[in-house]
Symmetry: C2
Subunit: 479 residues, 2 copies
């Protein structure tokens, strides 16, 4: 038998193979918090374990980061067959066969995963999801398609090897980012979380630029208690073109992993149309603001976290309001996203029945992109009130993109507040959409009012910043 | 009998009361173009006329600008009862009782219309539609509501009287602009057109800022053959507050009417957060880019047309690509807007059934705000193809706001093109929405392919500009 103390700190470091029952865990105060994360403190995701359940069933597999917050007495194992299985831990006997079975190097040979050794000190993972950065021009048709492997990309950028001791390269998906779904966010979160738990100093995620900002926000919410940076990177021109911005952007990524004092999900893209610096934008404050420019990604209602001078391999922090790096912290994966959330842009004369349609389709959340301080046509307020009465969370953002919503100023806003609409302050509409999808996924069953309150509670600097005037860009007025 | 030449140039100038038949007009080449506009060349909107129809019916009324392009043998008269009536002109006898019956001064006494005399030379109309600029704080509740009359506003700004000989002030609507509909655009167009036809050197339209850019685009399309500027103006803080921007913005308007070399619909709002200058933005290229700043309105993919230094009453053109002023030209009113057009923002995982829903609801046009160069998730392409096959026009714009859509680069774009989607180049999503609503209103019955081709044909500099790099704003990156 193990003491509670042993469970947390003890035997794990000393023995390679241990047998114990979950008896103490299940009955300890620790269990009251979360069985899974107590077990995790002992049997980490990535460990290969054998479980003998109270019913006598024997299951062997690798512990996955659990997302089953609704069922706290289960653990999820990946079997050698590739299938995942949930196992009840109540009065089960657990044996650790191999710790850190899915440690960075150990992943080699998994589907699409290779390990590249370098000359540096960093342990990194490079997860490719697709997009222009891994695309090539198909010369028969002239169209651009995802065709490069993640390893090809790493080969393009010698800087990665120079700064890394080990890079686990995962050819995870080959999707154009317009096809990404909340389900994909969930999968990417899990993949990134796996490497962070396995000791990576940072994870680089290659991604299409079209919806990169949405995915960045999704990762920022789903990877809780982040200790190291996660860097999303993309390209506006495919990697096989002379004009590609892929390699310049990519070169900045290991610098961020090495030098960043922040542990946030960031987007690393060109800061200007020339190769002067790359910006590390906070994932929940960035937006693709141009369809084709290299410096299309810009921070909104916030400053970028840092500039990266690529040639000098130097990172300059320009926003000191960040979540600090802790390196040792254990990432919690909360990677469920509800697909029953809509983002609805308001326009003059919009047919208010669209609200009823969404309610009838079983939507649980609607983020409206209202006008100005957060308005919609008055005719729609009744439908919104009905939706809220039926338990739908209706949030209000603004299509001006910059600035905050404020429903206290005008009569329309006051009526919306009275109907129960949740104003999202200075949160981007797209981020509010991702956050509401994440909240409804992970806090399933909570009262709408509680979810609404979570929506407006700051988690990762996505809301309520102190905006300086300079955050609004300077527009060219002919001089 | 009158010759064709007489019809165009002749008797009208000489006689105050004339009788003629429409015989020649109906049978002349002129008629082939448009009976209404030929008649207009002789019997102008605003004239009080008597019509004796071929059936012997006698109708007296004021000629309204006709929008009935589908029925070319009719004219619309406003009767003294206030009702409008369509009258067949075929073989009718028409007598002009009073020319320019609705001339600027003659409008006084109409509902909500007053005429103010000034010391200057300009003849202007000031049409108030509502919004913050005519709002006051309601001190019991703290909310802001439209409560000032248009005359109150004019009183606030002595510059208006100083530059004007005559200002017709029309208290036309008191709407918060989030409540504006395409039907309101139609009414405002008619009201503005009335004054332009009556000889105004320019019309100033006070409007709420929330949807001002949409209305500006609507007027730009509906007032064809504009000879003088139409200036939309608003305020971010209500006119009764010390911090209001209303009077500064208003003061710029008569300067624009006096000095502008362009005859376009423009939005006149603060150019910076200080009182340095007002910008005159092209109505089809402007967007409210901040929920609360004075300089919230900014031009996108284009330069503003001019800066107005208010204190010096000086206008400086900063964009030479404008439609020039002709003063003498007769405005054509094409002010129908279809309410069966939707603006649909794409987001990851969007349920493609929304397209079917819109088709089922009888929508004739959908403007999608896609991602990047104009993409949506591939799953939706089938639904879009079906919609197009059923005659719906599906246009593609981009949610990056800046830049152009280009469906030729990626496979998704090529599939969309193949399905028949119309890419709107560098047109703002909101402007594409307004233009499609206008096209479907005024070219009702035309083939979808023809409407699609009109959508991408430049009318008032709304599409296909030559963008300089400087048009993308300079973002603050910490230095």
């Amino acid at each position: 038998m193990f003491s509670f103390n042993d469970l947390i700190t003890g035997k794990r470091r000393r023995s390679r193979s241990r047998v114990f029952t979950l008896y103490f865990a299940v009955n300890s105060p620790c269990f009251l918090y979360s069985a899974v994360w107590c077990v995790v403190a002992n049997v980490k995701p990535g460990d290969l374990i054998r479980v003998i359940t109270s019913g006598g069933l024997v299951v062997e597999g690798v512990v996955l980061p659990s997302t089953e917050f609704t069922s706290e007495k289960h653990i999820v194992l990946k079997l050698s067959s590739g299938y995942n299985v949930g196992v009840s831990l109540e009065n089960a006997i657990v044996e650790v066969i191999a710790e850190d079975y899915l440690k960075l190097g150990a992943l080699e040979g998994s589907q699409g995963v290779t390990v590249i050794k370098g000359k540096g000190e960093l342990r990194m993972a490079f997860v490719s999801t697709g997009g222009t950065i891994v695309s090539k021009v198909e010369y028969e048709t002239g169209a651009v398609k995802p065709a490069l492997s993640a390893s090809d990309l790493v080969e393009f950028v010698p800087e990665l090897r120079e700064l890394a001791e080990e890079i686990v390269v995962s050819d995870f998906m080959r999707k154009l980012s317009e096809n990404m779904t909340p389900e994909d966010w969930s999968r990417i979160s899990e993949e990134v979380g796996k490497y962070l738990r396995s000791g990576a100093d940072g994870v680089i995620v290659a991604h299409g630029t079209d919806t990169m900002a949405y995915t960045a926000a999704a990762l920022a919410f789903s990877l809780r208690n982040l200790g190291n940076p996660v860097v999303l990177v993309g390209a506006q021109r495919s990697s096989d073109r002379p004009s590609t911005d892929a390699s310049y952007n990519l070169k900045a990524c290991p610098v961020i992993v090495k030098e960043a004092p922040f542990a946030e999900v960031v987007v690393a893209m060109h800061g200007s149309s020339d190769d002067i610096y790359v910006l590390a934008h906070r994932g929940v404050r960035v937006r693709k603001m141009h369809s084709s420019r290299r410096d299309a990604f810009q921070s909104v209602n916030d400053l970028p976290l840092a500039k990266v001078y690529v040639r000098e391999r130097r990172l300059e922090v320009i926003n000191r309001n960040y979540l600090p790096r802790t390196r040792s912290s254990e990432v919690l994966l909360m990677n469920k996203f509800s697909s029953k959330v809509a983002l609805l842009k308001h326009y003059p004369g919009i047919d208010c029945e669209i609200i009823d349609y969404l309610v009838d389709k079983g939507y649980k959340g609607v983020v409206i992109e209202g006008t100005g301080l957060g308005h919609i046509r008055e005719e729609c307020i009744d439908g919104i009130r009905r939706a809220i009465e039926e338990g739908v969370i209706v949030a209000m953002s603004t299509q001006t993109i910059f600035g905050r919503v404020d429903l206290d100023v005008y009569t329309t806003g006051r009526k919306l507040l009275k109907a129960g609409v949740v104003p999202v302050d200075d949160m981007l509409p797209e981020v509010a959409f991702v956050k509401l999808s994440w909240l409804l996924g992970n806090y399933h069953g909570e009262e709408p009012a509680k979810i609404g309150s979570r929506l407006t509670t700051n988690l990762v600097n996505e809301i309520g910043g102190t905006q300086s005037l300079s955050v609004f860009p300077r527009w060219y007025h002919g001089d």
